[in-house]
Symmetry: C2
């Protein structure tokens, strides 16, 4: 236990020291480090896949589900995606040093805010090994140090990728310790990491509810939660039928294993008798299994009844809970009570009900006549993201480069004193 | 203990429910509540002073220092200031519902962000009773519920002011529970409050290091720290002598008991022999007591030697620690190591050193040729503030109405699905 603590303290100190140098580095040097990382990844494709194969066979032996094995697997195509993600970050505008909101005050002071890196991020993630590359690329570009603490399932792959990232940093003349990885994947390593307040500025847990709760309850450092998504689509009585069918199919099946996929479908009782049977046919073809409220099971005989737990479950798969509601109010109440305040959509032709929905639903993204799957940094035009925050402070929704800055006030005077 | 928990749970639930109504209230209704509060305060001047007299005599009996008694005291003038603070908030722009950064994406989606209230703030403060009024006014205007947990020293005054605030809310047709106060001033009440994650969105501790540490270590809710200010002024070798004398006098004595007053003076060794003796004469007249590093005591014989603890002490009074440094680098290192990342100033005529100072000093406000006392919401043109944050996330520096918002993404589609 003490060895783990000492090791994490050592890592935290070295990343803190390195982050000071990275914060002062120019855009060209940071971009050259990123390009070197991309080159290292391309030059080491086979070695990466070899490490990944170790994780995969370990996962299969351990009895991980096919979905979980898929999450930790890389292939040539996914490696190409890593490289193109790095290139995207190279092309993004460097936010460091930008001065905003400059104004001249009545006493002649000129005051504004300068964007500077936050300092050091600790990112605690589970199985997807691409997280280490995406998070490191954004950290390097934004001038922040980062401590990666990946889950055990993909640890060989993550460790190897981290070695390539550090090599890229050194090739550009930057300290390799701008990016460090905690080797220990035990719960204890998390408990120590969240106490390193002298060296770590923000902790980002990306994972299941147990990880989030552990971090929230033990961290003495500010936390940005990247939590689960219990996302809803509400089909209003005035919805265009074809549009509703398209959106509900897309939100559920286009990529069911991610946080902005739909988990609960709400349908107004006036449109349910015509909409639900048609929707069910489409879902049947796509392999979606439905669990319905009492009214739904009456309209769709043969489907399973939903239990109260279903309304608060993130299936991350092809299961969907369905509820018939009698009003927009009931829909909004349900979403605010059972949802995870992530991404929620309404399909409607009513201007008033659409505007009420986006005002009253308490979620990071509220959409009218569009799939919940659009709540994503790239889709919303922010570029690559470090994750999707579903807390309210600092950043809500996709977290990009701009959200890795801590703007400070700068004041230019000519000798002013306060009276 | 359980009674306290039940009572806080009851308060938290009722403020959460009321905050939902306040979030939807229009500007006119919120302003009319604020005006009613101002009227109640004016109509109850004598009663307020009577309650305050109870706190003052209790404080004197308890042996509080004159400075502490002053902090909890109200008089006619301070009551006028409360009313004018409320009127300022009435005149501020209502941030709720504002839509920012709207753009049209290539697929035709229109996406932007809408400012909505965060929800419920819990503000834990110590002795100044005006905090209850200022914080409540900002909460009402920004559509947020607030739980006030004031310190025991001013509890009679705070409790009475809270009653007037709730009366004003009711007069405007808003629920009185938009503003609630925890009656219990024990440590236990804080420990329960910071666990109410289902009802409270943010905890703001405003007070000494012990309170801040207690909240940071026990809260499961995001915290915005309003911590102490160990602020520095660095007099560079190229400083204009008269400007440096003015700024250093103002930063120390204009209001020594507040967080943005200077606690440590750093002087370059080339200017110290001429500057320090002259500065000391001025400080002597103002009653400032100096504690110096070894070089300082050689230049100013007779003053006390500073101990290592002095560099990290917030005196909040007329004591000042003084250190002679040999370079800008040494000054920046000292500030980043011993300061509290609050407000730090340089007096210089060197463009390069000025720009390096604001870039490299890691503080919420970095000033060139101006008094540290300007790091304040009103002085920086933000209007009234709920406090000055010296953490990096969400808000750094003065926290005003805008920082009490949690913008959410809103997306207007015409049936778009993701491919």
């Amino acid at each position: 236990m003490d060895n783990i603590k000492d090791e994490i303290l050592r890592l935290a100190r070295s990343v803190k020291a390195a982050s000071g140098i990275l914060a002062g580095a120019g855009t060209a040097q940071k971009n050259s480090a990123l390009s070197a990382v991309a080159e290292e990844i391309l030059a080491n494709r086979d070695a990466i896949l070899k490490e990944n194969a170790v994780d995969i066979s370990k996962g299969i032996r351990k009895g991980l589900s096919a979905a979980m094995v898929d999450r930790l697997s890389l292939d040539q195509n996914r490696i190409d995606n890593l490289v193109s993600c790095i290139n995207d970050v190279v092309n993004m505008k460097d936010p460091v040093g930008e001065i905003i909101e400059m104004k001249t005050l009545p006493n002649g002071l000129k005051a504004g805010r300068m964007k500077v890196p936050v300092g050091v991020f600790a990112v605690i993630f589970e199985s997807r090994p691409n997280v280490s590359v995406e998070v490191s690329a954004l950290s390097i570009k934004s001038g922040n140090g980062v401590i990666l603490r990946g889950g055990s399932d993909a640890i060989n792959t993550s460790r190897f990728l981290c070695r390539l990232i550090r090599k890229g940093l050194v090739r550009a003349g930057l300290p390799e310790d701008c990016v460090v990885m905690v080797d220990n994947t035990s719960r204890e390593s998390v408990l120590h990491l969240v106490k390193m307040r002298d060296y770590v500025d923000v902790v980002i847990p990306r994972g299941g509810p147990d990880l989030i709760r552990l971090v929230e309850e033990t961290s003495v450092i500010p936390v940005i939660r990247h939590d689960m998504g219990i996302c809803h689509t509400y089909v209003d009585e005035s919805a265009d039928m074809q549009m509703a069918l398209n959106i509900c199919l897309n939100a559920k099946v286009q990529r069911p294993g991610v946080c902005n996929a739909m988990e609960t479908l709400l349908v107004h009782s006036l449109i349910a008798p015509s909409f639900l049977p048609e929707m069910k046919q489409i879902y049947d073809q796509a392999g979606v299994v439905l669990r319905g409220c009492e009214k739904t099971t009456r309209l769709l005989p043969g489907i399973m009844a939903a239990t109260p737990d279903d309304w608060k479950t993130e299936y991350l798969g092809l299961t969907l809970s369905v509820k018939v509601v009698d009003s927009l109010d009931e829909a909004i109440r349900h979403i605010n009570q059972y949802g995870s305040h992530h991404s929620d959509a309404i399909v409607t032709d009513s201007y008033q009900r659409g505007m009420r929905f986006i005002k009253e639903v308490d979620s990071a993204a509220c959409l009218i006549n569009a799939s919940t799957r659009f709540n994503d940094g790239r889709e919303l035009g922010l570029g690559a993201e470090i994750g999707i925050s579903n807390q309210k402070l600092h950043v809500r929704g996709p977290m990009g480069l701009e959200d890795m800055m801590a703007p400070k006030y700068i004041v230019f005077g000519t000798g002013q004193v306060r009276s």
